[in-house]
């Protein structure tokens, strides 16, 4: 392991723990069932909220009778739009270039019109959730149901009914990339049309909030299952008109988030508003049915695309036309453009192409808003690219690995700007692919595939190259006026026993960010990571920071933590030098003790801490004790681009269409690996999300916007018994954007896995001259592909 050597002087080269496989303490706590999530918490006088939600996707509320519900014992209050509109301002979106927002912004409770099935209409607070649910049922609601705009093609047809009549179109945004005039030079070698179903992220812990407004101080404390406490404080302060410094957001243990918990949701805001009205704590925890019909969804794309390859087998261009159905509103406060924009501007990114021409249309429809879920559009761009790359390779009769190796960007072309206009620092695609082929024993699998076909067993091998935007810098949201920071900070305190407390702006939703940060601090400070306690997720104590989104925790807050630890280390060595009558340059810290550079131990940190805290009498008068150090870090690059290659091995039952996963391999490059255990598990979790998208998950709706898959009986999550072993390898290309050199790893698995699995299925089907046209690739989708081939055979 050569990692620590590249870190700056002052870090310990021989005992450094960056790069080590270290188990994390928080995992032990969770395994023992000692986690503390929002729903585990209870406050005195706390009330429980439940929502009356729209049973239809589009309609006008003609009457609502709350009286029978108010009569139920235990019901404390029922609030509708007109009650809360005075308390909580609407979720007014910042302007976004080219994006049409409805004139009437979304309110936390629906006014006279409803826009999706599941939209909150009334909030009941009661002594228990059960009573609140009884009351919800007792509300007399009459809605005139209108035909819902649920079909994207229908939504853009001439004369279509409108989700938001005030903007006179269902098209929220149109984006054109690349040369719009026909190039007229070369014909596409392959084209595809592919549909990506809606799915969600399904965190184990559903969304939840406890809001406690104190009338006496005018202060509001909120415990929320969320990724971004500071963003939430800003929003809640502004919408409820409570000064920012009087709002405190605490994120306790969070059981998965994946982007579902990076927005502000109307129902959570309504519960918070009611706490302000009643001056009483209010708890709202979404049940799973509510989650399915109110959590952010993702994908819902219909893409036509083609690939242009010259006679020498070099890919010249991609062209794509994508229709993305967003739902009734843009996600708040970030908008929903990213799911569309990244689905087209990342097409072909790993390859040395000349042109990318694309059209993107984002449309409104009467469904739950689409937001930013793990990968945000990038899994779609990757899938389209890799399906086309495979198809082109097949067309010229070349092995898909060979075809890729030739077409990646030339090694001497970095840094570069992609055909889609994105800056790319460096991708290690070739190295990753070579390592992947050896890890999965590619040549043996190919030989076995040929043999097994003679026994009517149809196996497929898929290889997918991906790139991933991680740790975005200030250009991402800043120019749009969206109040989401790209900065993080860390403060480290030298405690009186010689241990450390590190307060960080990053947040942890189970992925182990806190453990990684402790490992970085411990590495720099020359101690064991168990000597560093992490405090996070509380706006009252942490730096203003971006929290968790776009795989930024270790990349950005890790660098801030490294800088803070480095400053504190300098202070500690200065104190030690004073006591030891030497120069700080002659000293270092290793294994919890101040040592000479020769390695000879001089003073344990425990002794030093005792002196630094309790023996000020022996230091010179006026000596400045710096026992705390802080640092903040904002990347100056647009983002740190991670990359990798994934491989999938599948068997397709050509009689039933069932796909069995036999193995999955990932070689990824997230720069400096802090703790391979954490990265491997992040990758595996992402792969599972990607496999779910590729094979199982579908937020299916009927033509009138009724969700058909709102329970775990109908919404198929990938389960342990279907999952293959997932093998992970690493290539480490440090980013030059920080001293630490780490890029993000949180989304890589989800970005590349669908492409690998879907390419593998097509590879298995290739002997029949057919291919799938949709994800999830359910048995019915695979069977349709096979039946098309059979029809063709019959007709010839």
């Amino acid at each position: 392991m050569t990692l620590s050597k590249s870190l700056p002087t002052g870090d310990n080269e021989t005992t450094g723990i960056i790069g080590r496989r270290l188990p994390r303490e928080t995992a032990r706590r969770h395994v023992r069932g000692a986690g503390r999530f929002v729903d585990d918490m209870s406050l005195p006088r706390m009330l429980h909220a439940a929502f009356l939600r729209s049973p239809v996707a589009r309609g006008t509320i003609s009457s609502i009778d709350l009286e029978p519900a108010r009569q139920l014992p235990g019901v404390v209050g029922i609030f509708i739009h007109s009650d809360l509109a005075k308390i909580c301002a609407p979720m007014d979106m910042p302007q976004s270039p080219g994006f049409r927002f409805p004139d009437e912004p979304q309110h936390v409770l629906a006014g006279d019109r409803v826009f999706w099935q599941g939209q909150a209409i009334a909030i009941v607070v009661a002594q228990s959730r059960a009573v609140a649910e009884d009351a919800v049922e007792a509300i007399g609601l009459h809605i005139d149901q209108h035909h819902a705009i649920a079909n994207p093609e229908e939504a853009i047809a001439a004369g279509a009914e409108l989700v938001h009549p005030d903007i006179a179109t269902n098209i929220a945004m149109t984006l054109q990339l690349g040369p719009q005039e026909p190039s007229g030079r070369s014909n596409p070698m392959a084209s595809i049309q592919f549909t990506f179903a809606r799915h969600s992220a399904i965190p184990l812990e559903t969304r939840g909030v406890i809001a406690s407004y104190e009338g006496g101080t005018g202060g509001l404390t909120i415990w929320q299952s969320h990724q971004m406490p500071h963003q939430q404080r800003d929003i809640i302060s502004r919408l409820l008109g409570i000064p920012e410094h009087k709002v405190r957001i605490v994120c306790p243990d969070v059981g998965g988030a994946f982007g579902v918990k990076l927005q502000s949701y109307p129902d959570e805001l309504a519960a918070i508003a009611v706490s302000k009205v009643l001056e009483q704590p209010v708890k709202y925890v979404a049940d799973r049915f509510e989650s399915f019909t109110s959590d952010t969804h993702a994908r819902d794309h219909r893409m036509s695309a083609n690939i242009v390859v010259n006679p020498g087998g070099w890919v010249e261009a991609f062209e794509a036309d994508n229709l993305v159905a967003l739902g009734a509103y843009a996600g708040y406060p970030r908008g929903s453009a990213g799911e569309g924009v990244q689905s087209v501007n990342m097409i072909g990114l790993p390859y040395g192409i000349e042109r990318l021409k694309a059209r993107l249309r984002l449309i409104y429809q009467n469904k739950v808003p689409v937001g930013a879920i793990r990968g945000v559009g990038q899994p779609v761009a990757t899938t389209i690219t890799e399906l086309l790359i495979d198809k082109a390779a097949r067309a010229i009769g070349e092995d898909p690995v060979t075809f890729r190796q030739r077409n990646y960007h030339a090694e001497d072309s970095y840094p570069l700007t992609s055909a889609g206009g994105l800056p790319v620092e460096r991708l290690s695609s070739r190295e990753c692919l070579a390592k992947l082929c050896s890890l999965m024993d590619y040549d043996r699998l190919r030989a076995e595939q040929t043999t097994l076909r003679t026994q009517n067993k149809y196996r497929g091998i898929g290889v997918a190259t991906f790139a991933e935007i991680t740790a975005p810098g200030p250009q991402y949201y800043g120019p749009l006026g969206i109040r989401v920071t790209s900065q993080d900070g860390a403060t480290i305190r030298f405690e009186s026993s010689g241990t450390f407390t590190c307060v960080v702006a990053a947040t942890d939703q189970g992925q182990g960010t806190e453990a990684g940060l402790a490992q970085i601090a411990a590495h720099v400070l020359g101690v064991s990571s168990s000597d560093v306690a992490i405090v996070a997720g509380d706006t009252a104590v942490t730096h203003y920071g971006g929290g968790a989104w776009a795989s930024r925790g270790i990349a950005i807050c890790g660098e801030a933590t490294r800088q803070a630890a480095s400053k504190l280390r300098d202070s500690i060595l200065r104190h030690a030098a004073m006591l030891l009558q030497t120069s700080p340059d002659e000293l270092t810290i290793a294994a919890g003790a101040v040592c000479e550079t020769t390695g000879k131990q001089r003073l344990s940190l425990k002794e030093l801490a005792h002196h630094a805290h309790f023996r000020h009498d022996i230091f010179p008068p006026g000596y400045a004790f710096e026992l705390t150090a802080s640092a903040q870090f904002t990347p100056s690059m647009a983002y740190f681009m991670a990359n990798g290659v994934q491989g999938s091995h599948v068997e397709v039952d050509i009689e039933t269409g069932i796909v069995t996963l036999l193995g999955h391999w990932v070689v990824e490059d997230c720069g400096t690996v802090i703790n391979p255990m954490l990265v491997d598990e992040q990758i595996r979790g992402g792969v599972l999300h990607g496999i779910g998208a590729a094979l199982y998950e579908d937020c299916a709706y009927d033509d009138n916007g009724q969700m058909l898959a709102a329970t775990f009986a109908d919404y198929m999550l990938p389960m342990a018994s279907e999952m293959p072993d997932i093998h992970v390898g690493h290539v480490e290309t440090k980013t030059g954007g920080s001293t630490l050199g780490a890029k993000g790893a949180g989304e890589a698995g989800a970005v590349g896995a669908p492409a690998a699995v879907l390419c593998a299925i097509n590879d298995a089907l290739s002997v029949f001259g057919t291919e799938i046209d949709a994800q999830p690739a359910t048995p019915a989708v695979v069977m349709r592909a096979l039946l098309r081939a059979r029809c063709r055979t019959r007709s010839t």
Partner: protein, 275 residues
């Protein structure tokens, strides 16, 4: 996701249970393992006024053997059936089907009788009971009656059980030398079948295609042992069975797709039986 308010009665004896059923009739719903009932109550899809919990009636949990049949008590858990030596020896179809019934956690609590009483069209056990020619035993305060499984199921979640009757068990005839097969198509292991086939062959071939029609019924394909051996007659049997289907479309496939899947599963079952 909290159930609507309901009353709860725990049956202290069979007489108590039957008396409660005869008094409350439609107002009471029987709770056994709770693996289907409780989730639907939490979703408020079912809202019984009163729950009669029979899980304390220990006598209903037994699996026993007599000279001509096997008796499975209504409260035998799926795991009991899966692990029973008697079932292994005499009812191979249940041994083949049982691993497809949900996951271990559900099999540990769900009951054999509960699955039949619930009459879910996609459940494995009702289909197996029809294929096996089992008899469903229903009891009320007056006495008991025996209903052939193929007459027991009459609609989507509907059976001939009367509101005052308790399903107490099932008798399955012993058929030495029987050959059985079970295949289903489910998106994930343990899911309800999109299409499934349970087949048993002794003196005649009994086939049940389930999962895609309102209730399990016998396919009209009666035949004799000799005709299963050659592929041509197997194909004839399969087409007879498929023609008789009237599958419902759902998220997982349309009617034609389900016929195609049934054809494949039938082919596999008959190949298994033909050996």
């Amino acid at each position: 996701m909290k159930p609507a308010p309901f009353d709860y009665i725990r049956a202290s004896s069979m007489d108590h249970a039957l008396a409660t059923l005869s008094t409350l009739r439609e107002d009471v719903t029987v709770l056994a393992g709770g693996q289907s009932l409780l989730p639907t109550m939490n979703l408020r899809l079912s809202r019984p006024g009163c729950i009669l919990d029979i899980s304390g009636l220990a006598s209903l949990r037994s699996i026993s053997e007599s000279s001509h049949s096997i008796h499975i008590g209504a409260l035998a858990r799926h795991i009991d059936v899966l692990e029973s030596a008697v079932i292994h020896a005499h009812v191979p179809l249940l041994r083949q089907a049982m691993p497809n019934v949900a996951h271990a956690a559900v099999r540990n609590r769900g009951t054999f009788g509960g699955s039949i009483a619930n009459a879910d069209p996609a459940a494995e056990i009702p289909a197996c009971c029809v294929a096996l020619g089992a008899t469903v035993i229903l009891k009320n305060a007056e006495g008991e009656r025996h209903v052939p499984a193929e007459e027991y199921f009459v609609g989507l979640y509907e059976s001939v059980r009367q509101p005052d009757e308790l399903l107490v068990g099932v008798d399955i005839p012993k058929r030495p030398g029987q050959r059985t097969a079970f295949h289903e198509l489910a998106l994930r292991r343990g899911d309800f079948a999109v299409v499934g086939v349970a087949a048993m062959f002794s003196t005649a071939l009994r086939i049940v295609i389930f999962g895609c029609e309102p209730f399990p019924k016998l396919s009209p394909v009666g035949t004799h042992a000799t005709s299963l051996a050659d592929e041509e007659s197997r194909t004839r049997i399969i087409e007879q069975a498929v023609v008789a289907m009237d599958p419902l479309a759902n998220l997982h496939g349309d009617a034609d797709m389900k016929r195609e899947w049934a054809r494949v599963l039938l082919r596999r079952c008959l190949a298994d039986i033909a050996g």
